[in-house]
């Protein structure tokens, strides 16, 4: 009895050891490539380290100076506002559209796989290619969209990407179009998990299609929708490449967002410390929003 326990104990020890050995390479890279930079970022945001090439002996702690500057910086607030506006411009439309399309593709149409691929295509296309197409579509003086609006009698068409008020909505349009496919695929997968007998019994009770969707489908896939909301929120806060390719944050600061602004500050204007401070603030904002969503999920997510 005693012998066997000791044996299992040492066996278990061995197994644990082997397990650690297996995750070691991965852990090593994670530590150096992800965790360490995170702490370094916090560190750097508290220093006066501007240019990367600064002699390291000249670097010193400045406490919360960078943060004080940041909270006085008008461009920072503009970028934050644009980020939040983007949340409202993209996520609701994206979710509603992708839900409708997913339900249609799932049940009410032929060539399912064809449509799945078609909608997924923009998601896997290069952002540069997608952006170039949208640039042409949204040509402000004689582009197809502008001409179409003019043809139905609208004068004073917006200047789209170079219009102070329309730049952000235009950009959101592209983002929604680009990410729609991803949401559709995820929701389609979720739809497969809804048990068919629920629909059958509902039909027996005489429920029509609307009631079925409203009372069965929607509640059953709330965990997926919850996941999508969190995921898309983070993605929206991290938006960078579309901005970089399409507008460079312009015109003026109309499409300035946090990640683009921190890139500009850190690498173009050589304020690594300031960029790091923006990163930390961005992290806190996303963390808080996610936390609120996480707490709020009990109210509506089906467990």
């Amino acid at each position: 009895m005693e012998l066997t326990t000791r044996k299992t104990k040492s066996l278990r020890k061995n197994e644990i050891f082997a397990g650690y050995m297996f995750i070691l390479p991965c852990l090593f890279f994670l530590l150096f490539m992800a965790i360490l930079p995170v702490f370094l970022t916090v560190f750097i945001s508290l220093t006066n380290w501007g240019s990367v090439a600064t002699d390291l002996s000249k670097i010193s702690f400045v406490g919360f100076e960078n943060y004080k500057d940041l909270f006085k910086d008008a461009t920072f607030y503009t970028a934050l506002k644009n980020n939040i506006l983007l949340l409202f411009y993209t996520i609701p439309i994206q979710l509603i559209l992708s839900f409708i399309l997913a339900v249609l593709i799932n049940k009410y149409c032929y060539f399912k796989n064809f449509f799945k691929s078609i909608y997924f295509l923009p998601y896997i296309s290069s952002t540069v290619a997608v952006a170039t197409i949208w640039m042409v579509v949204l040509q402000p003086s004689y582009g197809p969209v502008t001409e179409m609006l003019k043809a139905i009698g609208i004068e004073n068409t917006p200047k789209w990407l170079s219009d102070l008020h329309w730049a952000l909505p235009s950009l959101s349009g592209m983002v929604v179009w680009q990410n729609l496919g991803y949401d559709i695929i995820i929701i389609l997968a979720a739809l497969q998990t809804v048990p068919l007998e629920l629909y059958e019994s509902a039909e027996m009770d005489g429920a029509n299609w609307f009631v079925k969707i409203r009372k069965i489908t929607l509640p059953m896939i709330t965990p997926t929708i919850f996941f999508l909301i969190i995921y898309e929120t983070m993605e929206t806060f991290r938006i960078f490449d579309q901005i970089s390719v399409l507008t460079d944050g312009g015109p003026g600061d109309a499409t300035q967002v946090l990640v683009y602004y921190l890139y500009k500050q850190a690498f173009r204007n050589s304020h690594i410390n300031y960029g790091a401070a923006i990163t930390v603030v961005l992290f806190i904002i996303v963390f808080v929003i996610t936390l609120v969503q996480w707490i709020g999920r009990k109210k509506w997510v089906h467990e």
Partner: protein, 457 residues
Amino acid sequence: MKRFARLLSTALTAIFLMSAALSGCSAKTGDTPAAPSTGTPAKTVTLKFYTPTDEVTNKQLKWPEFIDEFEKKNPGIKVEMAPLVANVNNDEYKKKVDLMIAAGEQIDLVKSSALYELTEWIDNGVIEPLDDYAKNAGINLSDEYKGVTPYNGKIYAIPEEITPWLVFINKDMLDAAGLPIPSRDWTWDDYREYAKKLTKGEGANKVYGSFMNDWSNFFAVGTQSEIMDDPFFTEDNKLNFEHPAFRDGLQFRYDMENVDKSQVPYVDMSSQKLLYRNQFFSGKVAMVCMGAWMVSDIQLIDKYPHTFKTTFATYPRWSNDSKPNTSQLDGAGFGWSINAKSANKEAAYKFLTALTSEGLEMGHKKWTPWKKANSDEVIKGIIGPDESLYDLEALKNVIFDPQRVDNVVTRSGPGESEIIDAFTSEAEKYFVGGQSLDSTMKNTIDKANAIVEKAKK
């Protein structure tokens, strides 16, 4: 604080090494010999020469041949040339150089591609002044080169290429409109008249008379010739936005776009990312204001198919009082420098001066800063064997005009790059019709003041 610095540098080095190892470029740093500071010829010094251009470009410039010759002439110095980036990419190059310097890697020559980049490096103690080396060699750098300018009384860099600005004109369109080649002393008002007369058509097929790119130096065109040295700061480091050339210049561009409709609208330009070369060579615009670097593109008919001849005019004057053919000298004041941490500075200086004189002379592909260069050969090298697309006489008249005034930017004020950003973004709002001229000027000045205040802290 020492400890903190060491901690930081250890972490940085670790990250840098990891990324270097991961990306597969095994950075060998071990085999460099100790530097012979006295210059004993017995030991071989190896210089690391990293370029912001790729190998193909370097070959076009004939740098490998030049390095062979240099090594023959200077036994004891070996030069290892390697591109640091794909294609030609100054931003990426600077980022990598910054990291290499921070990690203490050997890099003997560094190249800056804007004055504020260089001054930022100098302020951080990264760059070695060249004066003492020039004195030892018995030469005066400003006698040898155009566009070398001191910063805080010392010379830190030798340019690789310096280019004046000029106006490129489609000669077919000029002839069709019955206009003569503009005179040497034409003004921006004349330019505006020319642009009006050269504009034709409507909608997608419209040919615009003028293309001024969406760069901040074209937002207020007069500043280049009207304000000597740095347009954004006065000599005593005060902001210069009160200068009338800014306000009037903005209005000038706005009117050309919206009243005359003879300049490609800013909204089209920025939202479509219109490229000045494509626009000009495909015949969508008749005149382009650009730096002389575009001269060499005219011969590339595979890349830019076109049949018309290009003629050239001086950069116009803003007011009647200013001297004709005045423009900034792009590329002056910055360029190749020596890393202050280099162990082989003597050798690096030798290579640096050879590169910027004979090295450039060999390829004849750049507007060399070297005063002893053969100007006929330079022109020939730049335009290539076929002259048929060039109005060569006009080109020479503009570039080798003995009375040309080179406006060299030697100063740069606190937070200059951010101030240019602020000016750009406010001017953009004006050009897309988002705010009035008054508030544009007011916002620019407010933002710039805040930046200066922060930079001075």
